[in-house]
């Protein structure tokens, strides 16, 4: 973490306010479209399950970071806020993956049960 954040002269709230209502609406439209595509992907016949899983995860990640970046202002906010959220997020994802590996759960992911 950078040292210069300790200076007393930083503006209140640490930036923010760069996003406009226009941006918000654009982000919401993007979110709606991605969700529609996500659900539609399920109904494409014959799609290989690995491709299906990876593309669903990718679309979900894009939605996640759109909300965090724009609606929660993290894109514009102070680096301290980013560190407080992204650090734990990485640890949480790493632990989910490790637990799945320990329970041999990866083999189950691409399996389509009929």
């Amino acid at each position: 973490m950078a040292d210069h954040h300790a200076v007393a002269s930083a503006p209140h709230g640490g930036g923010g306010g760069h996003a406009t209502v226009r941006t918000y609406i654009n982000v919401a439209i993007a979110l709606a479209i991605i969700t529609a595509v996500e659900v539609a992907t399920l109904y494409i016949p014959g799609i290989p399950s690995t491709v299906l899983v990876l593309s669903l995860l990718a679309m979900s990640a894009i939605k996640f970071f759109l909300v965090v970046g724009f609606f929660m202002h993290l894109k514009y906010d102070h680096p301290v806020m980013r560190a407080l959220f992204v650090g734990p997020l990485i640890i949480a994802i790493a632990i989910i993956l490790a637990v799945m590996a320990l329970f041999s759960a990866f083999v189950l992911l691409p399996r389509v049960v009929l």
Binding site: A8, I25, L52, V68, L84, F85, P88, V99, F103
Partner: protein
């Protein structure tokens, strides 16, 4: 004496620290980081037990993807109305902000009611309860705790609406509404993850 003056200036608002950041906002982000670990542990549990139930019903037999997609859309829409409320408050348009906050709370309430309907259907029509199988246990506890987070958020938002209508909230209270918003969006992104990982991935 400049330093002294700035220290005194900060004493006006006890919530602003020497970095110029608002304590409550830093605290909320720290809480959300911690809540990542909470939901991470629950999602990890769900995935570790995925496909290991020894009796039915199985996920694809009970999930109602159109209904859940509709719920997901409700939460995404509520995130938009939340930022619109904040934008209105920033311009000191308190009535408008209260309106958007109310819409946000109602969208959240609709989500919760959908979940109640979903849970009831699972239990009554598919015979899937907490104690039916590992799937029942992991699914209800994970989505139930998310639903509890949404419910808490709805109560928080309705209190803010009430305060705004009574004239107890204005543009000076931006941070108070902002941290409620951060919490609300977090609940939304948790659902983005749950929707994909639990419902969509077969």
């Amino acid at each position: 004496m400049v330093d002294h003056a700035s220290a005194v200036a900060h004493a006006h608002d006890p919530n602003i620290g020497t970095t110029g950041l608002d304590n409550r906002k830093v605290g909320m982000w720290a809480f959300l980081g911690s809540d990542c670990m909470f939901f991470g542990s629950l999602i990890g549990t769900y995935l570790a037990y995925k496909g290991k139930s020894i009796s039915g019903p199985l996920p694809h037999q009970v999930f109602d993807i159109p209904l859940t997609s509709y719920s997901a859309a409700l939460l995404l829409a509520s995130s938009l109305t939340m930022v619109l409320a904040l934008a209105a408050l920033q311009e000191s348009r308190v009535k408008k902000a209260a309106g958007w906050l109310f819409v946000t709370a109602m969208l959240g309430l609709h989500f919760v009611l959908n979940q109640v309907y979903e849970f009831t259907t699972f239990a009554l029509h598919h015979g899937l309860k907490l104690s039916t199988s590992l799937f029942g246990s992991t699914f209800f506890v994970l989505t139930g705790f998310h639903g509890a987070h949404v419910t808490g958020g709805v109560i928080w938002l309705l209190i803010l609406v009430m305060l705004a209508l009574r004239g107890k909230i204005d543009a000076r209270d931006y941070t108070k509404v902002e941290i409620a918003g951060l919490y609300w969006h977090f609940v939304d992104i948790v659902w983005i993850a749950i929707f994909t990982v639990i419902y969509l991935i077969p």
